[in-house]
């Protein structure tokens, strides 16, 4: 099993979710984060004074998947959220030792 963690553009969340659902992806965790990377922040202003905002709202998706699905899902995500513009985000893959479904107590891949 692995954990796939993807940082994507806020407006892409809906599309990705639909795609993953179609694929039959078990479940996911969505977190609203602020990202900081190559993408330059925007300029805002308040009562006549401008200022730069260095953090960009991003969505972090975490999915724990069976080893066999890992690559397919990574592909799936990339194909749905990629725009080619700076700020598309990244995907991080982590090892995971175990997983438990609280409701049933099942452990390991079956719990995914």
């Amino acid at each position: 099993m692995r954990k796939i963690e993807a940082v994507i553009r806020v407006e892409k969340l809906e599309e990705v979710t639909d795609a993953l659902e179609k694929f039959g992806c078990p479940g996911m965790m969505v977190t609203h984060i602020e990202g900081h990377g190559r993408q330059k922040g925007i300029t805002e202003q308040f009562r006549g004074r401008e200022f730069k905002v260095n953090f960009i709202p991003k969505i972090k998706i975490e999915i724990v998947v069976k080893d066999v699905d890992t690559d397919k899902i990574i592909q799936l995500i990339m194909s749905t959220v990629k725009t080619g513009e700076i700020g598309d985000g990244k995907i991080f893959i982590y090892p995971i030792e175990n997983i438990v479904r609280i409701r049933t107590g099942e452990k390991g891949e079956v719990a995914v």
């Binding site: 407006e11 609203h32 300029t43 805002e44 202003q45 709202p57």
Partner: protein
């Protein structure tokens, strides 16, 4: 060509103010002499009872002004957080523009000396003989109404119209659309002289203010097209929840409150004790509209829909605005109830034919403004006249007044729709040709607050951008 015109608009915009000031300064000198009664001394001497009328009209006018806050809150509440700053900007600028433009042109076109029943022709810049307490009083009253008509539109075009376009639209509506139609009904124009019933009547403006505003808004919504995500790929309408039911409710209460100035104040005199009846009718229609709307949706979804109840309340207020002075309490309840029914059907209707009206402005103001005008022809009970207790009294079908009044109302209503919708389409289409009235897709997605104003409404809060 569109480009050049576009540029022109911009430069014009920034120039506008300078021009107005210049003009004013210029005009100032010569005429001041002709001033009528600027201090009010003569007016008071001539009518010692006038103070109470002035107090009544001004206080009611203040309440009508306060409706600006109500519209701002309702619209903000029914739209998303990412566009809240933009809605505040629009709901402020329309009254700002209205104040300046109506003073310069609108008031003269609407209330100036009548020319062939079509337009008014005097009182530009409140100048010369208009430097008179009575004239200023009337200007103040008409201004807050013009401002209300203008602000109605912001709801229908919310979350996608450029601020610049809204700025120019406000100019057009308060300088031309509103005052000219207003002249026809309230300025001694042709509609008020129709040879049916007592002529077309609209006590406090179901037509002049709400139908006008509502249909210009409809035109805007159509030219703009729906917001991203309003209709699914299957074309089915989808709900886009507003960001604060609390703001929407607060706004509705403020509007309800302001309406007590809007309707009763339209007697323009405290000596018309009928104001008590008007206040009661106004309130009953609002209540009936709210009750019917929430119950109807409950029957459909088994949930108590607050948003629709608020719309229903406003629908009742809009509908009773025209008849409020000529009907009895029970009729107000009936008129309000029907308004509650209409607003629910209307909200579904527009969505189903693909029109995106984010806050229900069209359903509330356009549809029920129309209904309000018609209702006069049905429920007017012949106990009250044209802002006076003397005849001619206004009598509708149900009170043996025959079809006359109903016809006069129907004609006025149809003319109102044609005028507002027609000019509305022209205004928005022309602007669209020149510089495009809709913000860029990515701006719309990120929200207009950032793109147009650079100022998110709630920088300290964690907000979703859906």
């Amino acid at each position: 060509m569109g480009k050049r015109l576009g540029k022109w608009f911009i430069s014009m915009k920034t120039a506008m103010l300078a021009v107005i000031i210049g003009l004013l300064v210029y005009l100032a000198v010569p005429f001041s002499a002709f001033a009528a009664d600027p201090s009010g001394a003569e007016t008071l001497a001539h009518n010692p009872q006038s103070p109470v009328d002035y107090v009544w009209v001004l206080v009611c006018g203040f309440l009508v002004f306060f409706m600006q806050a109500g519209f701002a809150m309702v619209e903000a509440g029914f739209c998303r957080a990412k566009n809240a700053t933009n809605l505040m900007a629009k709901n402020t600028i329309d009254f700002v523009v209205a104040s300046l433009v109506f003073m310069a042109f609108g008031f003269a076109l609407m209330m100036g000396n009548d020319y062939k029943g079509l337009i008014g022709t005097s009182g530009w810049f409140l100048h010369g003989a208009n430097y008179d307490v009575g004239k200023y009083l009337m200007f103040f009253w008409q201004l807050v109404f013009a401002g209300t008509a203008a602000t109605i539109v912001s709801g229908a075009v919310a979350e996608r119209l450029k601020f610049k376009a809204y700025f120019l639209y406000s100019l057009a509506v308060t300088a031309i659309v509103y005052p000219i139609y207003g002249h026809w009904v309230w300025g001694g124009g042709w509609l008020s002289k129709l040879p049916f019933g007592v002529g077309h009547v609209d006590f406090a403006g179901s037509g002049v203010v709400h139908t006008i505003g509502g249909f210009v808004g409809l035109a805007g919504a159509i030219v703009l097209g729906p917001r991203f995500g309003k209709f699914g790929k299957d074309g089915k309408p989808r709900a886009i929840p507003g960001h604060s039911i609390v703001l929407a409710a607060l706004g509705t209460f403020i509007l309800w409150f302001g309406w007590f100035g809007f309707n009763p104040g339209s007697t323009f005199s405290a000596h018309q004790l009928r104001i008590a009846v008007i206040a009661v009718n106004t309130n009953l229609a609002a209540a009936a509209g709210a009750a019917v709307a929430i119950l109807l949706v409950f029957l459909k979804t088994k949930k108590w829909d607050v948003g629709m109840m608020l719309n229903g309340c406003l629908a009742g207020l809009v509908a009773v605005t025209a008849p409020c002075a000529w009907i009895e309490a029970w009729a107000a309840v009936v008129i309000g109830s029907i308004a509650g029914l209409l607003v629910v059907l209307s909200v579904y209707f527009w969505e189903n034919i693909g029109v995106d009206d984010p806050v229900g402005a069209v359903s509330v103001h356009a549809v029920n403004g129309f209904w309000g005008l018609i209702s006069v022809g049905l429920f007017a009970d012949g106990t009250y006249g044209l802002g006076t207790t003397e005849g001619p009294l206004v009598k509708g079908l149900f009170y043996g007044g025959g079809l006359g009044q109903l016809i006069a109302q129907a004609i006025g209503a149809v003319v109102c729709v044609a005028w507002a919708f027609g000019l509305g389409l022209i205004i928005f289409k022309v602007m669209d040709k020149c510089f495009g009235v809709r913000v860029l897709p990515h701006e719309e997605i990120k929200g207009l607050d950032i793109g147009e104003h650079g100022t998110p409404a709630y920088p300290n809060f964690y907000t979703f951008n859906n």
